[in-house]
Symmetry: C2
Subunit: 361 residues, 2 copies
């Protein structure tokens, strides 16, 4: 990546925000999208970083996404709140629900946030990490475009359906995972198609339901869940939690809704927050977290084992000090966006995932 | 199984309860254990059925389990309740927490039950199915003896750590899954050792951390999580939710606690209940459940795909009408238990799992 520019994280944020403003997003939406994109660049999850800006632009230009609607927060029951995103991208809705969700979790012990009618193209770890930074345990579930066959089945039905989980730590950033319930990200298949490489076993079936290692056949057929029927069950659970539970769309309905093929699945996201201090008499959260550290220590003492999110935090330390390298072609696109122009060529990063819903922790 | 006796489910319950009473369990514990055992026989999850009675007896005779302590229900916060099982087997504690949990879920939208100091040798699907029969969504998480290496690691650390999930259905029994986060049940390895069969790839590593297909080496080494690092993350999540969150034991601490090697892991179980009607304005639960049926219909329309728990419900229809076949050797053991005698020989069912925490849905 010699043809690249070094940018500080502040510069990334400013560039992303200017690009979104230049395309017509309102100030608060542009800020929230820039926050999400910058967090991804900071943690070297580049497929959700600046590379993702064209998805936001396409969503807007196609009329799929509102540029400026205000998220509407309502209380559905004492410990359940809802933020209706109004067919805008999800970052502002999630930011809107964050503090109210955390307050209710601290009051009631467990609470939930239903985000509805949101275009979801970002990772889930930012919302659960935010909760864990407040000392809470967090879960998030979102469904996406139907690319994945149920175990034993032959045709796409489930989205890649990520779930995320975060646990607070005392002297470290939270333990967080954010993983698709598919065996691979769709983008990993697309990259292998481009590069003429075969797929590993277990990733996909062709449109007759036969196992395939051919990326082209896989894209015409279906992706597979991770871990056989158990991963398929996780995918099914995520569909139910992000769709019918919230009165929002199932994956196959999202595909029908995305008439402009923006690749921005529109639906619900369920976020659950738990206050550990409300789960033990006396409520000594620090003691609970110290206890968890004994598990993490034993895990990290094993050669080869690592905590999820460790790689992101290493990247974070590095990029916070050194900034990130951004391809000049992408910088040019971002500048064009900021100037209000449309860009048809999409920059890419070698080897990175390029769909929403990939494992990214 | 020619040398077997046909028993109605009522007879199974009566025999199991008499066996537990004969061994010294109090009436309410004997009833709750019999309920659990009968539900397992009914659904042909025989490894949690009558075959499991020796585990309860061993737990009692070793002094590991209390025969008669009353579970203590307390409210930790408005939507979090706790049932301290007092080092007794879990069924009575779970029955004690069931209705209060459901009430709080219906009042607050989401609620949690922390069961602590419980000996867990039963499946998790009964407690989440009960919630779903009430129209609620249920989750349950429990950790167990440390047999499973984290992904990339070499040594046992996690339990087989099942999680269960239930979704209510309108005209059908609930959709329920209950699955270990290990690739296989420990009992499946033990059966292959007995039968001289090799293990499938991906089940285990030897005590040097190398992949093995040898059951003996696997039992000396470690089991593997299902689905690689994603299943390992699920196992880690379950450890945190059933242990430090509840102020209860992590798997490796449970092993140290089971001094009599009863195979009855003692620790916590987290149960979460959600009322779908509290997640949408207006609260039309039936509409939400009808919506979910459109997903189930599409899944079932695919040849080869099936809903988790479908097999259990088929068995239930059959055994409710026809009863179950029980080996005479096991019937003899049960009668001996009822007469207050100790039995050293354990009956077994060919081909069934024989450890707690196996996938059983």
């Amino acid at each position: 990546m010699t043809d690249a520019v070094r940018m500080s994280l502040e510069e990334v944020h400013a560039a992303a925000k200017a690009a979104m403003l230049g395309q017509g997003f309102a100030e608060n939406h542009a800020s929230a999208i820039a926050n999400t994109v910058t967090a991804a660049e900071r943690d070297e999850c580049r497929h959700h970083g600046l590379f993702r800006l064209p998805f936001y632009v396409n969503g807007l230009r196609s009329g799929q996404a509102s540029p400026d609607i205000e998220p509407v927060l309502t209380e559905l029951s004492p410990s359940v709140i809802k933020v209706d995103a109004g067919y805008a991208f999800s970052p502002l809705a999630l930011e809107t629900g964050d503090a109210p969700l955390a307050e209710r979790a601290k009051e009631f012990g467990i609470a939930a946030l239903a985000v509805t009618n949101a275009l979801n193209v970002a990772a889930l770890w930012p919302e659960v990490e935010r909760l864990a930074v407040r000392g809470l345990v967090g879960f998030a579930f979102v469904s996406s475009s139907p690319y994945v066959a149920p175990a034993g089945g032959m045709k796409p039905l489930f989205g890649t359906n990520p779930m995320a989980f975060a646990w607070p730590r005392l002297d470290n950033p939270p333990m967080v995972f954010d993983q698709a319930s598919s065996a691979s990200a769709r983008g990993e298949i697309q990259l292998r198609l481009r590069d003429g490489e075969a797929l590993p076993d277990g990733w996909a079936i062709d449109n007759e339901g036969r196992p395939t290692n051919d990326p082209q056949q896989a894209l015409l057929g279906a992706q597979l869940p991770f871990g056989g029927f158990k991963g398929s069950n996780i995918a099914l659970m995520v569909e139910l939690l992000a769709g019918p539970l919230l009165g929002d769309k199932i994956s196959f309905e999202q595909a029908a809704h995305d008439k402009a093929n923006t690749g921005a699945p529109c639906g619900g996201e369920l976020v659950i927050a738990i206050d550990p201090a409300k789960f033990v008499a006396g409520g000594d959260r620090a003691a609970q977290l110290r206890h968890a550290e004994t598990l993490f220590s034993r895990l990290l003492a094993q050669d080869g084992a690592r905590l999820p999110s460790g790689r992101r935090y290493e990247a974070r330390r590095r990029t916070t000090a050194e900034g990130v390298m951004v391809p000049r072609s992408l910088v040019a696109s971002i500048e064009a966006y900021a100037a209000g122009r449309q860009v048809t060529e999409r920059a890419t990063y070698e080897g990175d995932h390029i769909t929403a819903g990939a494992a990214s922790a």
